[in-house]
């Protein structure tokens, strides 16, 4: 491909997704812990496979192979250095392709980590779109999910304008995480149809002329930008020892409602499925957990109080692991907001 490889891929995707043959494209925004040349080796070590062919610029043709069934999925990997975008074409079932990549990513953690974000951040991406002059945001549906049950899809009346307040009210009412938003966006006499998720997974369905290029420019790059800001926020949080004295950096979360003993029991039980957990104080209502991420060895203390949750990294606390941990808390207490840090 050489020079213009990226433009060529976008051009091809624009053309394909504006045709009647269009099939959903799965896109994942992920943080790498390694350089791209090492990806195949680490994938092999993780019991899956990744085959890459450098096409110039920052783009690679990409083939992933799942662990058990050895399913193959094909697409591109775009290397933006600190963040990668994985684009997977649907060959057969769109659901299967998405699930295969999700499982592949789960296997690959912590080498690559999905760029999780809050419902709030996701709605900011949509808000920014809705503010573009001479554009129209047509909501189709949004998805709420409780951490321990199936997703709930909320349909949006086609003629009703997008309302962030209404979605937030619904999230609050049902106490579930806003996981995805499905919408059509009309701009510059063209449109695209997509679904974006808080776990960094997007489905691009179809559109008009320049549909993918517009999606990339207006949605994906904005999502990447917010993800990178979050990544920076969670970086360098490890406990440090300066002149014999320890210094810690707390991340303080406001759960937006008062938490009680039952909430802390749910939190301990939820986190223990993802982390090595030691319950030092059981939540009466003060909760003190010692958590360890077996993926990359990050370790934390988590303090739960009725009005806030504090996460304090120990001597290893990677931003990717922290983002995952905070997302796990969002799953349980969806309206949680980061209050401040000291």
């Amino acid at each position: 491909m050489g020079v213009g490889a990226l433009a060529q891929v976008y051009f091809d995707l624009d053309r394909f997704h504006s045709s009647c043959e269009a099939r959903p494209l799965h896109i994942f925004s992920v943080f790498p812990k390694i350089v791209i040349d090492d990806l195949s080796r680490f994938a092999h070590e993780a019991g899956v496979d990744a085959i890459l062919e450098n096409k110039g610029e920052r783009i690679h043709e990409f083939e992933i192979v799942s662990a058990r069934k050895r399913q193959h999925e094909y697409g591109y990997l775009i290397d933006h250095a600190k963040i990668w975008n994985i684009l997977i074409r649907t060959v057969e079932s769109p659901t299967v392709a998405g699930n295969v990549v999700e499982r592949w990513l789960e296997r690959m953690y912590p080498v690559v980590c999905r760029s999780y974000m809050s419902s709030n951040d996701l709605l900011t991406v949509i808000d920014d779109l809705s503010k573009i002059k001479d554009s129209k945001l047509e909501m189709r549906s949004y998805v709420l999910r409780a951490h321990d049950s199936h997703e709930t899809v909320k349909k949006w009346k086609s003629d009703k304008p997008y309302s962030r307040d209404e979605i937030e009210r619904s999230v609050k009412r049902e106490g579930q995480l806003l996981e995805a938003v499905n919408f059509l966006f009309h701009v510059e006499h063209t449109f695209f149809h997509t679904r974006i998720q808080t776990d960094g997974h997007f489905v691009f369905y179809k559109g008009g002329q320049y549909c993918f290029s517009n999606f990339q420019r207006l949605v994906l790059s904005k999502f990447n930008e917010i993800a990178l800001t979050n990544h920076k926020f969670f970086s360098n949080r490890e406990r440090r020892v300066v002149d014999g004295k320890a210094e810690v950096s707390r991340i303080i979360l406001d759960p937006a409602r008062n938490l009680g003993k039952t909430d802390f029991e749910r939190l301990s039980s939820h986190l223990s499925t993802k982390y090595s957990t030691a319950i030092l104080h059981g939540g009466n209502p003060w909760l003190l957990l010692n958590l360890m991420d077996r993926g990359d060895g990050s370790s934390y203390d988590l303090h739960g109080y009725p009005s806030e949750i504090q996460v304090i990294p120990f001597n290893r606390g990677s931003p990717e692991s922290l983002m995952r941990l905070i997302y796990a808390i969002y799953e349980l207490f969806p309206l949680t907001e980061i209050k401040e840090d000291t």
Partner: protein, 324 residues
């Protein structure tokens, strides 16, 4: 920890109760003492945790907290879940060891004699067991909730500045210190140390070895992290003591099969898959410790029974011989 031997067959549940109580006592001590010290600092009162004091007769003591207000106040943490009078009296006897004049050296001036007031700090729910016992010192009862509430429950300190902090409770937030430092000088329970060490081992896993079934950690690196888990008032000479604790924890983790420790090579291998599906690591390690201690107690019990049987036999033979 040593379970006292009785001629009753060792009961697993009592062993569990003792070990669990020791762990809770240690966590409570770290939380309450560091938070109380933080609170006192904020209201302008100096205090020392585990400050070495010499009794006037020369015997050293290390009270949990020494408050330097108008007067000096020794606060010692005693955690018990027992209602047994004998146990409670033995606790009071230990408290009585503080009824003395001490030599205090704050590092700036030469030693001076002090006659501190003595306070026992214990969970609020345990205070009722001490009420009515003779010679019970001033007792503060605490509860660990979303805040720490401390009440003067038996007697009251004379020091007006400290006394005025109770109205009727002294409430303080849980100090950040407990996430900075994980240990005090006083000996932590093995399951607690092992839990902290196990997580610390993972924080030392090699950065680019994510999927190997095991990883190596250098013993000296663990020691470095382990030593930073002690608060700064612990001097470097305490390091030797720390090595014993670390070694005990590594021995224990090796016994339950989670690590392999090559002592001569100063190397520890951690098996990634071990302990993956455990919901509460601390509870699990307590259970493992309980089993080990119970087995030890059973062995001691059996030895004691044999010893007693052997002691009885020759006596009987001698008597028969006398008849002959």
């Amino acid at each position: 920890m040593k379970i006292t031997l009785s001629l009753k067959y060792p009961d697993l549940e009592s062993v569990r109760r003792i070990i669990k109580s020791e762990v809770h006592a240690y966590i409570d001590a770290i939380t309450v003492l560091s938070s109380l010290q933080d609170y006192l600092r904020n209201v302008g009162i100096d205090s020392h945790i585990e400050k070495r004091l010499m009794k006037k007769n020369g015997e050293p003591k290390k009270p949990d907290l020494l408050i330097l207000s108008g007067n000096y106040i020794i606060v010692d943490h005693k955690y018990t879940e027992s209602e047994n009078e004998k146990t409670l009296i033995s606790i009071l006897e230990k408290m009585r060891e503080y009824d003395s004049a001490f030599m205090f050296n704050n590092g700036k001036t030469s030693s001076k004699e002090i006659n501190p007031e003595v306070v026992m700090l214990t969970p609020e729910r345990s205070v009722r067991h001490f009420r009515g016992l003779l010679d019970c010192p001033i007792t503060w009862g605490y509860s660990l909730d979303s805040e720490i509430a401390i009440k003067q429950m038996i007697g009251a300190v004379k020091d007006s500045r400290v006394s005025s902090l109770f109205s009727p409770d002294l409430t303080c937030t849980v100090a950040e210190e407990i996430s900075k430092y994980k240990f005090f000088i006083s000996h932590p329970p093995l399951s607690y140390t092992s839990c902290e060490i196990y997580h610390a081992l993972w924080t030392l896993s090699p950065s680019y070895q994510f999927f190997a079934p095991e990883f190596e950690v250098k013993y000296d690196d663990i020691l470095d992290v382990f030593n930073t888990s002690f608060p700064p008032w612990i001097c470097h000479e305490a390091r030797q003591l720390n090595i014993t604790r670390l070694n005990d924890a590594l021995d224990f983790l090796q016994k339950i099969g989670w690590i392999k420790w090559f002592k001569a090579e100063k190397l520890v291998i951690v098996y990634r898959k071990k302990g993956r599906l455990i919901a509460d690591l601390l509870s699990y390690l307590i259970d493992c410790h309980v089993k080990i201690e119970h087995e030890k107690a059973v062995i001691r019990f059996e030895k004691e029974i044999k010893k007693q049987e052997q002691l009885q036999k020759p006596v009987a033979q001698k008597k028969l011989a006398d008849f002959a």
